[in-house]
Symmetry: C2
Subunit: 126 residues, 2 copies
DNA sequence: CAGGATCCGTCAAGATACTG
DNA sequence: CAGTATCTTGACGGATCCTG
């Protein structure tokens, strides 16, 4: 379990270099809104409107483009119910579930330590 | 261990909302270069030049500003040896170590699945 | 060697309005 | 309700030059 970054790279030479696919994935998945959308979906299937309200501060444009990338990446599934008014559901794919599983510990830690981290600056300013 | 995003938020109302400290931390830590710099430092103390070479594609400006934020956040320690030519070392603080511990599983997973994820688009294009 | 300062282009991102 | 289209802005990020 004590994997190091060096070990990760040893197994796959060239990983995390500039032109590596991992960079693309990181940009999608660790983007400002990508993380939050994925996290929100970890609570289960959600409709467009729910996501819009759930991910505080996101604009419709950003929600749309973020979802489109994640769907194209195969991390999120889109299901459109033919009805009036329209009803569209988003959920994590198996791949997305694997991802979020590894992301939640990180988010949990951030939630626990955010105050201390931003607090450092207040100390530095003193 | 099966923490859900909902659970994380239940314990701390208002977490991950627009004006929450977690958002700031997320922006620093999940930023394009932030992740990579932190990951690189997980291999141990590194000098400026080593980081510059190790984090493929980063510019001096971005390395500088990324390091400055991470140091201000208390995640990275900066040690300047008084010598000519200058010698400066960067390493993770205990807080930074906690963070990277939770980040490595994620990076490892991304390294394993990146090809498949970016591959989805090729399929979609077909 | 380690970096700060500056200039500038590009694109991400917000606001708004409109549509199936 | 679930988006797309368009416009505008400002921050990110690259290149370059300069300093301790």
């Amino acid at each position: 379990m004590a994997v190091s970054f060096a070990e990760i790279r040893e197994d796959r030479p060239g990983t995390f270099t500039h032109s590596c696919p991992t960079r693309v994935v990181l940009d999608h998945v660790m983007s400002r809104w990508g993380v939050l959308v994925i996290a929100a979906l970890s609570d289960g299937t959600q409709r467009w409107g729910e996501l819009r309200r759930g991910v505080d501060g996101i604009s419709e444009k950003m929600l749309g483009s973020t979802l489109r990338t994640l769907v194209a990446d195969g991390l999120v599934a889109r299901r459109s119910l033919p009805a009036v008014p329209p009803h569209v559901e988003y959920s994590l794919t198996p791949l997305g579930l694997e991802l979020v599983e590894r992301m939640l510990p990180l988010l949990s830690w951030v939630a626990d330590n955010a105050d201390e981290i931003v607090g450092q600056k207040a100390i530095a300013r003193t």
